[in-house]
Amino acid sequence: MNWNGIRAIYRFEMARFFRSIIQSIVSPVLSTSLYFVVFGAAIGSRIDSVEGVSYGAFIVPGLIMLSVLTQSLQNASFGIYFPKFIGTIYEILSAPISSLEIVIGYVGAAASKAMIIGSIILTTSFFFVDISIQHPFWMLAFLSLTCVSFSLLGFIIGIWARSFEQLNLVPLLVVTPLVFLGGSFYSITMLPPIWQSISLFNPVLYLVSGFRWSFFGTSDVPVVASLIAITGFTTLCLFIVWWIFRTGYRLKA
């Protein structure tokens, strides 16, 4: 294994994150605070509680998931698209580093950034609502698996994209609707039966549900289903990444 190579990519990517530290931290804190004010305080005051949890606390796991998904996708897709765009990818392709090591470096860095942001949002939420975490181990497990799998997806998008427009297309048109319709801000039991059934096809529902279970012990779908969904999704992404490097898809002439 080329550990120095992995470390070089990881450090380089993290340095980019810390260079824009204000933007990296202030923006998630600000948007989370706004969500708490609007959904928690204003609208939430009209909603008693959802499944025995105050509405303000109920949306915390969904809020974290929303940011973590978006950040993983953005960081990972930008991280690999940018070298392609400005041409520095030549160096990575000519280096004695395997595709697995490249993925560990880029996806590891993107997932780390998302983890940091997720933790910041969780910390911020303590200032607004009372929450306790019933299953801390599973909370971390769901969080890190989500960071890794969506960073992998971001990596795939970054390699696929031929323009900045395409780079933003998938997060905007696919992921944001899935997150909002995945029960981030409500329990699907609040939906009419037909929409409940449709929601079951939304992969993000399983993530949010499992993650919320680790906080409050209640879930929309069985926890095992959530675990299977996230593991399956990670495996699928890994397979696609493996295929990309095997064929050189959009990487090599």
């Binding site: 080329n2 120095n4 190579g5 470390r7 070089a8 990519i9 450090r11 380089f12 340095a15 260079r19 940018f82 070298p83 400005i86 041409g87 520095t88 030549y90 160096e91 990575i92 392709l93 000519s94 280096a95 004695p96 580093i97 395997s98 050189g248 090599k252 002439a253």
Partner: protein, 309 residues
Amino acid sequence: MPAIVQVENVTKTYDGGFEALRNTNLEIEQGEILALLGPNGAGKTTLISTICGLSAPTSGHIRVGGHDVVSDFREARKLVGLVPQEINLEPFEFVMNTVRFSRGLFGKSRNDALLESVLRDLSLWDKRNARIAELSGGMKRRVLIAKALSHEPRVLFLDEPTAGVDVELRKDMWALVDRLRQDGVTIILTTHYIEEAEAIADRVGVINKGEILLVEDKADLLARMGRKEMRIELTETVSAVPLSLKKYDLARVDDGAALVYSYDTRGERTGITSLLTDLQGAGLGLKDVQTRQSSLEDIFVTLVQEASA
């Protein structure tokens, strides 16, 4: 000792069907400087990209230091440094960070003392904490070279290293190449500038339309294909070359104001002495005499024209 770079029957066909390399064979000896000459689109960059792993050969094998560049890419690529033709650098990155990144990427542990000497050699040490975007074009090119040298390669590829750089930087670059050669680094450079190949290369390869036309020792090539010309300016113009001088095959130029004699530098007798005597015998007065050695440029043009014909 086997050649450090071995290219065997390599063909590269792009998706559109364009054949960028045709059955290419090339052996590069350790420690030599090889200049690859060729017009735009000849396949110089494709050849380098294929050796360095940026594109895979359609068929054939390439070995660096005895390691296959596909099946044993780790060992092969450790030995290779690449300075690309385009200035591919992250504008917001700092010089030192980007050089350190390159070293790590090639699997080497951190060694700031070595990087300092590389940056000093390239007159970049003062700029180590500058952003790439703040540097001039010439400085950026030096950063690319520093990145390639940061992991101590044994073989260095310079793709058009002096395209668009000023005279001073070009001379600096040549001096650097000379220092690297003294350290035993093998250097392959592509260039349009024949002058450059003439100045620094040991061997010259000429490539056109995906085929290597020849690879030869520079001095041998110049001697074999090089001709010398003597231009004789006359005090009075002549309307025709006098019959007594027919055997010299002189060319009448500038409306008879001068005569040009071509001769082979390797010939035992150049025929100059007898020509001068015969000129006097024919009653021609000499104003001036100049000799000129044909350059690599003339040879190159001849070769490419012959290949296209």
